[in-house]
């Protein structure tokens, strides 16, 4: 069972939207007890418990309600912190300290606490208070303009990739801090910047700028660093159906031309070696596209992979949901939700030899774990609990 791996680890989770919940979902998937702090006021939009988005990013977590505008809420957070290993938040930098809940204060009740603040820009610097979600982070990092055909028409990715990346870095940082705590007995405050996280994934190109002092320009599916041709995306039979083909060396080139039945153009002088093919890549793409256009993407890919040419189907969401390979690897899993019924989501690309997901559950309803957390864990009496509920502190 993958749930055994982080069992015993308790995480107090103040995160919302995507980057933070994506991080705590990974911790919860592997067995950490993640207590998500919500309130009726904040459980809206992406944070409304009964949406597909919420259910996808918050499975295996507990939910409590706590209205941070009440002074009593601060005391409750301190008590919860004392019982937790990790506290994670993704507010803009002033929020936690405005509540009087910065790391210095929290350490008083839990000296070896690991706290991580995941913000757009990091906790310091002239832009520290700036707000951003995934798409602005991608635009800042350079990924948007480089994922285009023309620098004067920036396109970028069609989704919030940067949130997943920041979330992955948050998990990595937390687990590294746990390792340190186990060895050295010390906690840690971690300041993680989503902007910088995204920039680390453009490393080689940033080194090019740093060292060679030249601007990097977009080239569609090719790039100025590429040494492969044909290399690109080609139209196939059907509506909006495409395949990709990548030929890096002579061996793959010969395999490709054989698979095509060695048409005359594959024997042209201008395609006779890799550097010539790179030079005439546009012409090559056009000729290859004429061939792929007569076949389905699946046919092209099966034929080319059989002879050892890297090729792929450009899959959309429906293709992925039906993908026989992903099915054979149990990549999607079903979880029963009390209101949404049977729900489906991706598991984790981290596949242990024993990868049973026994014990996984759908996302919690709002405040589902109030009684467990406040009474069983914190030890509030029935009267204390009811009076907090009545006042709206727990609400």
């Amino acid at each position: 069972m993958v749930k055994e791996i982080l069992s015993g680890l308790r995480v107090l989770d103040f995160t919302w939207v995507l980057a933070g919940p994506y991080a705590t979902r990974i911790l919860a998937d592997f067995g950490a007890e993640v207590i998500k702090v919500q309130s009726k006021k904040t459980a809206k939009g992406a944070e409304s418990n009964i949406t597909g988005y919420f259910n996808t990013w918050n499975r295996n977590k507990r939910s409590i309600t706590l209205d941070m505008s009440y002074p009593e809420a601060k005391e409750i957070v301190l008590k919860l912190t004392a019982m937790s290993d990790v506290l994670i938040e993704n507010f803009t930098p002033r929020v936690m300290s405005n509540w009087g809940l910065d790391y210095e204060k929290l350490r008083e009740v839990k000296p070896n606490l690991i706290m991580i603040s995941l913000s757009a820009m990091g906790q310091t610097g002239p832009w520290r208070d700036f707000v951003a979600f995934g798409p602005p982070i991608q635009a800042l990092s350079g990924l948007t303009v480089l994922t285009s055909y023309d620098p004067a028409a920036p396109l970028g990715l069609g989704y919030a990739y940067a949130d997943s990346i920041a979330g992955l870095y948050a998990v990595l940082s937390i687990l590294a801090a746990m390792d340190y705590r186990d060895k050295m007995g010390q906690g840690q405050y971690i300041d993680l910047s989503a902007y910088e996280s995204m920039c680390t994934l453009l490393g080689p190109a940033l080194l090019d700028v740093s060292l060679n002092k030249q601007e990097v320009r977009p080239h569609g599916n090719r790039s100025e660093y590429l040494n492969a041709a044909p290399y690109g995306c080609y139209k196939c039979l059907g509506i909006d159906r495409w395949c990709v083909i990548a030929v890096h060396n002579e061996e793959e080139w010969h395999a490709l031309s054989q698979a095509l039945g060695q048409p005359v153009w594959t024997r042209e002088e201008e395609f006779s070696n890799l550097s010539k093919r790179n030079e005439h890549a546009d012409e090559l793409d056009q000729l290859l596209g004429q061939w792929t256009g007569q076949h389905t993407a699946e046919e092209v890919v099966e034929l080319l992979q059989k002879v050892g040419v890297p090729a792929g189907v450009v899959q959309n969401a429906e293709d992925l949901a039906r993908d026989p390979h992903l099915k054979a690897r149990d990549f999607f899993t079903y979880l029963e939700h009390s209101l949404l019924g049977s729900t489906i989501a991706d598991r984790s690309p981290i596949k242990f030899s024993d990868d049973s997901v026994a014990g996984w559950k759908a996302a919690p309803t709002l405040g589902e774990d109030n009684r467990y957390v406040y009474m069983e864990l914190l030890g509030l009496t029935e009267e204390e609990f009811s009076s907090y509920v009545e006042k709206g502190v727990i609400g």
């Binding site: 480089l146 590294a176 090019d208 040494n227 995306c233």
Partner: protein, 405 residues
């Protein structure tokens, strides 16, 4: 804050053998940057990823690949021919003192060399083996060849990126390799925790395709819950919440819907709101139906500003806008400078020192006191083979002449 005197390597004492090519060399870089001891094991002559550009002074050479430089900081480097029986023997000796192996060979390759997990486990029962491949170890496509383009296509990134008028578009850089490496690095730390409980090693299987599908944000959720297949729609975001417009000197990513009243007040104060002031635009439904007109008016307005004016004023009003930066702008960014994101790195053999992107995190109790460039081919052969494994100088010479090392 806590005194920084008690620093130590965050992952000090963890020993990793990195057998990965370009698909996952970033994985052990992440762990090396956090203080783990990583030994990169390359075939004699150097790893294939040394052939990947960009290159120093644009001149291709195995010791000048910036791709290799970036993905191998803080590692030691040795060479070893695993396909030679003597190389295999040395490898078995090496893994006795190793916690983790990260590899990217085609499924079945290690088994052919009799170096599969069952055999490695006999030499070191606590060994953790992480395999990163295009499609994973099992399933009907496990033997398919992959690369970043293939993983991006099969994983669903491309279909949703690009414009309706263009072919699907692969995200720039080797994003499938980086996301798989992040998952792989997390799996290493998870497996180490599991090992503390049960004392046993572990085998982990990571697929580039699945790593891509796992970082698609709304794409699968929207399909599973609403049966909508997201398509590519240029710079206009799938839910219309962002678009990219040109300014006097560049491009800004902005929200055509968020905080409508504030936005219109701002544009109106400059006499640029046109008919968007009309009451019917206060309704979100109406705005959605007239989105292209709204974008036209916004475009006329943004053209009168510089990118930075809109970015900084917008941020003051809490608009989540951002400039579409080029990498030069990233490199000169005042925020990254203030946070010392770039780290000067010495390349003494070339008399060079230049800035590398550093880690995105700051730990209160830890900072890396060493930051070293990637190893040259076989740079640490003597250190590892003579000082750690106890081979003599003669043996090393003999192995080298037999092309084992």
């Amino acid at each position: 804050m806590i005194s920084k005197e008690e620093k130590g390597g965050l992952l000090q004492g963890i020993r990793i053998l990195d057998l990965a090519d370009e698909k996952a060399s970033f994985c052990s870089k992440l762990l090396a940057d956090m203080g783990a001891t990583v030994i990169k094991v390359e075939k004699p002559g150097g790893d294939s990823s040394r052939k990947i550009g960009p290159f120093l002074r644009n001149s291709p050479h195995p010791e000048r690949s910036l791709f290799f430089y970036y993905n191998n900081t803080n590692k030691l480097g040795i060479t070893l021919n695993l396909e030679h029986p003597m190389g295999r023997g040395i490898f078995i000796r090496l893994i006795k003192r190793t916690d983790i192996i990260i590899e990217t060979f085609a499924p079945g390759y290690l088994k052919n060399l009799e170096l599969n997990f069952e055999i490695l486990k006999e030499a070191n029962p606590k060994l953790i083996l992480v395999s990163v491949t295009g499609f994973g170890q099992n399933g009907p496509r496990n033997k398919y060849k992959s690369c970043d383009l293939v993983a991006s296509a099969f994983g669903g990134q491309m279909y949703v990126s690009g414009s309706p008028l263009t072919p699907p578009l692969k995200p720039f850089g080797e994003q499938s390799y980086y996301s798989a490496s992040l998952f792989a690095a997390i799996s290493v730390l998870l497996a180490l925790r599991k090992r503390v409980h049960n004392g046993k090693g572990e085998q982990i299987d990571i697929s580039l395709q699945e790593s891509v599908v796992s970082t698609l944000d709304h794409v699968m959720v929207r399909y599973f819950y609403e049966k909508v297949v997201t398509k590519r729609q240029g710079s206009l975001y799938w839910n219309n919440s962002y678009c990219i417009l040109s300014c006097r000197n560049g491009y800004i990513l902005l929200t055509p819907f968020q905080k409508w009243e504030t936005l219109i007040e701002w544009m109106d104060s400059e006499g640029m709101a046109e008919d968007l002031k009309d009451d019917q635009y206060r309704e979100e439904e109406y705005r959605l139906r007239h989105l292209s007109h709204i974008i036209d008016v916004l475009q006329r307005w943004t053209k009168t500003h510089t990118v930075n004016e809109l970015f900084e004023l917008g941020q003051l009003m809490r608009f989540t806008w951002a400039p579409v930066q080029s990498l030069k702008e990233v490199f000169d960014c005042p925020q990254l400078k203030a946070r010392e994101f770039f780290i000067h790195t010495e390349h003494p053999e070339m008399n060079l020192s230049f800035a590398y992107p550093g880690p995105p995190y700051k730990f209160s109790c830890f900072s890396l006191d060493r930051w070293k460039r990637a190893p040259l081919v076989g740079e640490d052969n003597v250190q590892i083979y003579e000082k750690e494994l106890g081979l003599s100088e003669e043996e090393l010479k003999r192995l080298s002449s037999m092309k084992v090392i």
